[in-house]
């Protein structure tokens, strides 16, 4: 890859070209998303109840202080959300990479297999939640039916903290691994074969070919897709909500549910805004890490 080489033949003609190309995207973003983003920062310094006739009041960092020091749920929610994000991303990476490589290696039936393996991502999240709830049910679920069939004990999947964590993780991994698979598959498919022919001539074995040549080439799209998956995971809502509603207790409550409930059930707009700002910063840190990783691999 020759990314470092300046691409200047168009630049000489028109210095404005990149900005022109960016303008439609940013125009939309500024109207629809940048404005709420700034508004949200502003809200996080206010005490404002959505339904209250009392006008909002500027309170400085009070919302943040309350959140970090006095909110008993925030710590639980952070623990679950971060744990859930790390575990699901790791599993999706491994399974996604494997399935993409296997699918790419298939000569016959590849198109059909790909379709089948990608199906879970097409199912609406609400339906995924409800469908898996039937699967995890203690008495009438397929999972326990299978466990009993092979001679194990039933597990209270959704009623105990640890099993509930894994039930949510597996349901989420089931739904969104195809996302990673698909992007890797697209990355693999757009590589040209000459590279591999060259490697083959050089006498590299399969393992070397993969780690030295293929992996660095598919890393940029992989990093982007994992980065976005991480962001989606941090604020996951539907599947935990339908499977456990955050239970038992608050042991499986993600940030997404906390924000929604603070905003639209408690009407505490300032605090909800503060939580989403915290989430924004976590997201930026995550993005920085992924950008670093993909740059590092490229230069090496």
């Amino acid at each position: 890859m020759k990314n470092s080489r300046p691409f200047n033949f168009l630049l000489l003609k028109k210095k404005l070209t990149p900005y022109l190309l960016l303008s439609p995207a940013f125009l939309l973003l500024i109207v629809i998303l940048v404005y709420p983003l700034i508004y949200n920062f502003y809200l996080s310094f206010l005490k404002w109840r959505l339904t209250s006739p009392v006008p909002s009041k500027f309170v400085g960092f009070e919302n943040y202080v309350n959140l970090f020091l006095y909110d008993p749920d925030f710590l639980d929610v952070s623990k679950f959300s971060l744990g859930f994000t790390i575990v699901t991303i790791f599993m999706e990476f491994i399974i996604g990479l494997f399935s993409a490589l296997l699918l790419y290696g298939l000569v016959r039936g590849r198109r059909l297999m790909t379709s089948f393996l990608l199906t879970p991502y097409m199912v609406a999240p609400i339906a995924v939640g409800l469908g898996w709830r039937l699967m995890w049910d203690r008495d009438l679920g397929l999972v326990n039916f299978f466990l009993v069939f092979i001679g194990l004990d039933k597990i209270n999947w959704l009623a105990e903290s640890m099993p509930a964590f894994w039930a949510i993780v597996i349901s989420e991994v089931w739904r969104s691994t195809p996302f990673v698979t698909m992007i890797l598959l697209a990355g693999l498919t757009s590589l040209s074969n000459e590279i591999f022919e060259a490697a083959h001539i050089d006498g590299a074995n399969r393992w070397q070919t993969f780690w030295k040549i293929t992996f660095p080439l598919i890393l940029p799209p992989l990093a982007v897709s994992l980065m976005f998956q991480t962001i989606f995971k941090l604020r996951v809502f539907d599947i935990p909500f339908i499977l456990t509603e955050g239970g038992p207790g608050t042991s499986t409550m993600p940030y997404g549910m906390l924000i929604h409930r603070t905003y639209f059930k408690y009407f505490d707009v300032g605090k909800a805004a503060a939580i989403s700002v915290v989430l924004l910063f976590i997201g930026i840190v995550v993005a920085m890490i992924y950008v670093k990783i993909s740059k590092m691999k490229q230069t090496s």
């Binding site: 890859m1 300046p6 630049l11 973003l29 709420p36 494997f98 290696g105 000569v107 609406a124 990355g187």
Partner: protein
């Protein structure tokens, strides 16, 4: 395309073990879906029987209701969703491909900052954007229109689509573009005639995701529309009733929702395959 010999593939084992793993993944992927489809043709008594029943006399009544033309038909909802998702995909791909091209091929002031800013907009949880956007569109009198959902979805998908397409564009060699530029093509011509066809697997993948995210979106659709433009996920959420989940209705709608996405996914894949041909010809 079958001429690619397995030896020079990118270093992937292709023995019977790997085929076995594919089969396991296949069962894992399909079993819950099959279960949802089976649920859609079961009466409630059968859904809740212990141990779980697989084969029952099929009951297609829910399909008749939703796919028929009566009062409870789901077809208007499907049409709304289809139109909105298709428009969103189209707009997003057009707008984002330009932006992605700019980020991928040009070095300009603030480029990295703009890329991060774009991402930052996506980091905001959508629920916090609901109130400001609602007030804005209320003021503009645009609530309850397809337009408002298309515009919001497009904006929400742009960061993701741009980042992803940039990653794919980065992987495409520039020699062809350079020679086209020497031939006197302008930037747009280069993007649409040369870069995009080469990046078609990536674009296909991106547009499938954009389509599915728009197709399944619930919150904005629920909050911003009332009468004219209800989408199918909103209808699906209504099967969670006050006292009970209407399981059969839910499963039927879930199956119906799955279908268009599946069909589109299946046909988009030909771009994934065609790219190999292009590669081998080149």
């Amino acid at each position: 395309m079958k001429s690619i010999s397995q030896n020079i593939s990118p270093g992937i084992p292709t023995n019977s073990v790997s085929k076995g793993i594919v089969m396991i993944l296949l069962v894992f992927s399909l079993l819950p879906i099959i279960w949802i489809i089976l649920t859609s043709i079961k009466s409630e008594q059968a859904i809740f029987s212990i141990p779980p029943k697989v084969f029952v006399a099929p009951d297609f009544s829910a399909y008749k209701i939703f796919l028929g033309l009566g009062n409870n038909s789901a077809i208007p909802f499907i049409w709304n969703s289809l139109f909105i998702a298709a428009m969103t995909t189209f707009l997003t791909v057009i707008v984002s491909s330009l932006a992605a091209y700019a980020f991928s091929r040009y070095r300009f002031k603030w480029s990295n900052h703009l890329l991060i800013l774009m991402l930052a907009t996506r980091l905001l949880p959508p629920v916090t954007a609901v109130v400001p956007l609602y007030l804005m569109f209320r003021y503009l009198d645009l609530l309850d229109t397809k337009f408002v959902l298309i515009i919001i979805y497009t904006a929400v998908e742009i960061p993701f689509a741009t980042w992803l397409m940039k990653a794919f564009f980065d992987g495409i060699p520039r020699e062809l573009e350079e020679s086209a530029a020497l031939d006197g093509c302008n930037a747009l011509q280069i993007i649409y005639k040369i870069t995009m066809p080469l990046a078609s697997p990536g674009i296909a993948a991106t547009s499938i995701f954009v389509f599915i995210l728009a197709w399944n979106e619930f919150m904005f659709a629920f909050m911003f529309t009332s009468i004219n433009v209800r989408t199918i996920p909103v209808r699906l959420a209504e099967t969670i009733g006050e006292m009970q989940v209407y399981w059969q209705e839910m499963a039927t709608l879930a199956t119906v929702i799955m279908l268009p996405a599946l069909i589109i996914g299946f046909f988009m894949q030909k771009y994934l395959v065609r790219a190999i041909t292009a590669g081998s010809v080149k």
